[in-house]
């Protein structure tokens, strides 16, 4: 028994050494390991699994299939793993993928703590991370690095986009329902800034704890403020339960809700009767145009759900990466990154999108208003597109960047 284990250990060690040596041999101008590997690091079973999860893996596979399954004559492989929303599991998986399995690019990496931890690994190993699912702006600010692209959205764009667009539509006075931790505070501050800049006023804010059991008390305070718009600076279950309570207490009759971080899965799970009339910003919607509809339907056939912005972003990021590899003729990370920052991104996800020096992918965002039940003609027909927010206006301007790569210059 012991001997067998020893042999097994020795063999795996030898294999390990061999792969390591092989990885080092790969020269620029070639494909390392004779295969291009895309790793989808996501949350398969936890809080965010509906946003990304198995759907993200499927989306990446669809991108590979659409690309033709091969790049520069080499096979493309997609592997997925569950980071369980633990930064240590995520970072270690990323290390192993880069060190031992020859993964060339990691995508999705949702959950901000995991995303930031993985971006550090990517920077250290000089491999590419295309983070789609994480919301934190830190990925392109304090924790930016030359090997990371932040692809689909961030809290700044959502807050800014929603605030700006709603003020323009006449929603001048705001009250915030804010999750009491850094994430909620920054959502609130970013939104409040644009509201004030646009000539609006902020009537007040109430801070609620994460995973609060009951929101009615906070909503009564929002109601008493008589503000036109109640901004929900929270996420996930907190947003869902605040929307439910807002309906129950009749707040939606006189005031409008603005979700600052709401995904289509949240709308789907709450149903239209509860959410109708609500404003929110999204980076992508399956029913925007023919191209998105085509992708949405194909995805639906596989997963029985419409894709979220994150899943669509994983598709697009994978495709963009493969195009870049094909363009430069190698999967060398430096060469591919240079190409990624040069080429325009045009696919069903983004039109004329581009990657900025800080790693931020700039693309248009959309202000949505949730349809009434009577206006919804088919399953997943949820949004009116009320405004298209040009990428330059949605995302944090480069001049405000706290990214060392930018500020040093």
């Amino acid at each position: 028994m012991k001997q067998k284990t020893l042999i097994a250990l020795a063999v795996s060690a030898a294999l390990l050494a061999a792969t390591a040596a092989y990885a080092q041999q790969a020269k620029p101008g070639a494909i390392s390991g004779d295969v291009v590997k895309v790793g989808v690091l996501t949350d398969m079973s936890g809080l965010y699994s509906d946003l990304g999860g198995q759907g993200s893996v499927e989306a990446a596979k669809m991108a590979v299939a659409d690309f033709g399954g091969k790049v520069l004559g080499k096979n493309i492989e997609v592997i997925g793993a569950d980071h369980q929303n633990k930064a240590d599991v995520g970072a270690q998986k990323a290390r192993e993928w880069f060190d031992q399995q020859g993964v060339d690019m990691i995508t999705d990496a949702l959950n901000s703590a995991v995303g930031i931890a993985v971006t550090k690994v990517a920077g250290e190993k000089k491999r590419i991370l295309m983070d789609v699912g994480a919301a934190s702006t830190r990925l392109t600010n304090e924790d930016c690095n030359p090997y990371t692209v932040h692809y689909a959205y961030d809290t700044y764009a959502l807050a800014n986009g929603t605030g700006n667009a709603i003020v323009k539509q006449g929603g001048k006075s705001w009250f915030f329902l804010t999750a009491d931790y850094a994430f909620g505070h920054s959502l609130e501050a970013d939104t409040a800034n644009v509201v004030k800049a646009g000539g609006g006023t902020v009537a007040g804010a109430v801070r609620h704890p994460l995973n609060a059991a009951d929101f009615s008390s906070f909503l009564l305070q929002a109601q008493a403020s008589k503000a036109q718009i109640v901004g929900l600076a929270n996420a996930g279950g907190d947003t869902i339960n605040s929307i439910k309570a807002a309906n129950e207490f009749g707040i939606t009759k006189n005031q409008k809700l603005a979700g600052l971080l709401v995904f289509i899965t949240d709308i789907h799970s709450l149903g239209l009767p509860t959410t109708q009339g609500m404003f929110l910003t999204d980076g992508w919607y399956w029913d925007l145009n023919d191209e998105t509809r085509k992708f949405g339907r194909r995805y639906f056939d596989k997963m029985k759900k419409m894709p979220t912005m994150v899943q669509a972003g994983v598709y697009s990021s994978t495709l963009t990466y493969l195009k870049a590899v094909a363009a430069v003729g190698t999967d060398n990370a430096d060469a591919v990154m240079a190409q990624l920052k040069k080429a325009k991104i045009n696919d069903m996800f983004a039109k004329n999108g581009y990657v900025r020096a800080d790693g931020r992918m700039i693309h248009d965002m959309y202000l949505m208003e949730v349809k009434k039940q009577s206006e919804s003609k088919y399953p997943w027909d949820y949004y009116h597109v009320r405004a298209t927010i040009p990428g330059e206006q949605a995302y944090q301007p480069l001049s405000l960047s706290r990214c060392p790569m930018i500020t040093k210059k």
Binding site: S45, A81, D82, A87, A113, K120, A182, P209
Partner: protein, 323 residues
């Protein structure tokens, strides 16, 4: 006695050679959790106190060490001590409150207090909320040896683990440890023998939390970040599982348990894929997505059928073997 020394020596040699065969980052992580579980075992296994809030000390130590090294510019070794110290302080505060009640209440109080610390860490500025405290530099050892290399760091982590393990071993086998066992077996009798039971319990609690803090600090240095996962009550449950699975009240049990649980967390997905490939049953692929379910199942099986844990059962087998 001689046998024991040889056994430990063999294990140390195994530990020294391990990074050449197994991925060192995984080993380091597992060692940190092993130290954490050993510290926890000092309470459950030798004092009979079930702390259901031990995540508070792992995470508390981790955050303090990270803060000290990253923001206050402490050298790495001082940062580690800082983590250990904050574990002890937290342990003193929480322990003083919790030992006012016994048994099941003790468990519930530690759980509630650690949940309070979770909310504190979530809201406090320096922890970075759900983004975590990131980019903690590994630094150097004694100002000269760079810890950036995984292998170098591994030996440092291994040394810390051995030191912690030795300390627990000493505690258990000292007269103090005997008193602790007496408390576990029969608290009223220990009181009637004139022991100030509460002081003994508190001291054991503080030793345990200090080591948990050290484990957290080491983990932060090793990974370069600390996140809310480590102060969440799931982590408190996880350390119970490690100890239970490995064997409560056995010296090596928690180590075995920690390695098993961490390997499971890491490799369950691959294992499921392997099963799916070999058996041709697609369903096995979903195992990787159900780490919590499998964890829960192990808990239930352990409690029902396997209460002595892996090491405990092995020891019982060896004892029963005719000589």
């Amino acid at each position: 006695m001689n046998k024991q020394v040889i056994g430990y020596a063999l294990l140390i040699v195994l530990g020294l050679l391990a990074p050449f065969f197994v991925y060192p980052v995984f080993l380091m992580k597992a060692l940190c959790f092993a130290l954490f579980a050993c510290a926890f075992n000092l309470l459950i296994g030798y004092t009979g106190l079930l702390s259901f809030g031990h995540a508070a000390f792992l995470g508390g130590g981790g955050y303090m060490a990270g803060q000290a090294i990253k923001m206050w510019g402490f050298p790495t070794e001082l940062g580690l001590l800082m983590g250990m110290f904050s574990g002890a302080v937290l342990g003193f505060v929480i322990g003083s409150l919790a030992i006012r009640r016994q048994g099941i209440y003790f468990a519930m109080i530690t759980l509630a207090l650690s949940q309070m610390l979770y909310f504190f860490c979530l809201q406090a500025k320096f922890t970075g909320g759900e983004d975590g405290l990131q980019a903690v530099p590994r630094g150097t050892l004694l100002g000269s040896i760079s810890l950036a290399d995984d292998l170098t760091l591994y030996y440092v982590v291994f040394a810390i683990f051995i030191a912690g393990f030795w300390m627990i071993h000493r505690t258990i086998h000292s007269p103090f440890g005997q008193v602790l066992k007496a408390i576990r077996e029969n608290e009223p009798r220990a009181i009637s023998l004139g022991y100030d039971v509460d002081r003994y319990k508190l001291l054991a609690f503080v030793i345990s939390t200090a080591l948990a803090g050290l484990a957290g600090a080491t983990k932060t240095v090793m990974l370069g970040f600390e996140t809310l996962t480590d102060v969440h009550w799931h982590m408190s449950g996880e350390v119970v599982l490690m100890t239970l699975l490995g064997g409560m009240g056995t010296v090596l049990g928690p180590v075995v348990g920690a390695f098993t649980v961490k390997a499971l967390e890491d490799k369950l997905g691959d294992f499921g894929d392997l099963l799916a490939v070999t058996t041709g049953i697609e369903w096995f692929k979903t195992i990787g997505e159900s780490v919590t379910i499998v964890t829960g199942l192990i808990f239930v099986v352990c409690v029902l059928a396997f209460r002595r844990g892996i090491v405990g059962e092995l020891a019982a087998l060896l004892k029963n073997k005719p000589h």
